[in-house]
Symmetry: C2
Subunit: 196 residues, 2 copies
Amino acid sequence: MPTEPLAKRPGGRSARVQAAVYQALTDLAGERDVTRLTIPAVAERAGVNPTTIYRRWGTLQALLAEVAVARGTDAPPSSSGDLRTDLEAYAVRTLADLTRPGGIAFFRAEVSPDIDERRSGLRECLQRATAGLDMVLEASRGRGETPPPAERLLDQIVAPLYFRVVFSVPDTDEAYARALVADLFSGTWHSAVELH
Amino acid sequence: MPTEPLAKRPGGRSARVQAAVYQALTDLAGERDVTRLTIPAVAERAGVNPTTIYRRWGTLQALLAEVAVARGTDAPPSSSGDLRTDLEAYAVRTLADLTRPGGIAFFRAEVSPDIDERRSGLRECLQRATAGLDMVLEASRGRGETPPPAERLLDQIVAPLYFRVVFSVPDTDEAYARALVADLFSGTWHSAVELH
DNA sequence: CAGCTAAAGCAGGTTGATTTGCTTTAGCGA
DNA sequence: TCGCTAAAGCAAATCAACCTGCTTTAGCTG
């Protein structure tokens, strides 16, 4: 698990290289044929020597994972004071996250070949997803409400979004994301079964 | 209908090779590091020349896709006469499908690098998923009921299962699969539907 | 059972990613 | 500013997947 902002020499060059590589990776990940998403290719586009990438990140998976984390950290979720509104915003944001160019490539990277890599990568990914959600729920609880458990929301909001994006199901748009939330509210989630 | 065993020369050798390759692929797909899941590796384990695989299937993706289809065709879904029971069986079967060894590898194969490959692969995969579901729904309609639309069931049953399996969420077991169905029945749509 | 031919095997050769030892660059602290 | 050293660059070697032309095997059919 690589250290994100490189403790040793945060100075100009390393930072520049990192930025260039991140950018190059993001660009390439958005392109059609992700088969061409390879370390030498990233290096070339970044104007950097392949060796550098090999030595600093070792594998494409690792690099992708790192960048995935980095792109996740720019979402500023603010509470509106209303659970439903917050959840809708959350759903829409999640969908946007998934559909932005290269989304699948990053997802793929996290569903990594090696089982241990995968576990840790996905755990991280899941935690990021849950974090946004928890914030919303926390706010709700702060208002004295009793929102449904996060687990349930993952199942009913995040899971369908992932599923439909991955499978390219048509009409998976913002309206659909909102509909998912609407569904929750028209239902009786109070009587939720106990998920041991 | 039995298009399975190669139209041209269904005779002994081809069939044997195919069986050996399928088996080898399945074995390897179940192992820890799927990085080692490569054509030469499959060939070696199958006791077959790599060239054979290259010529017959071309790419690992194609082979995986074919085997994925083959392993999907052994599920005999029989209707019990009760929608809920059928759905539970369907959910449990889907979960079993996903969690059986190598499940993730196959899924990964279908979330393929190339966007077109992906679309077609996933379409197929999705169609297989939907097929089982449609059968259940058809049976239900045959009984004069009005079951929820397939789309909704995909969202509320299949999607969470996929999601949780991919993300290794703990406690994603048979009981959970049933709970998903139970949820549906305690939820909204049944108010608009007569359930004997 | 004998010949035809699709499919399997084999031995190269090609391509492209990954590795390695070394040299060069350029932050950073004295 | 100067020297130290982490990190980047470079070149050549390695290694593995994948391809190609050819030979061999073995179902099938007459």
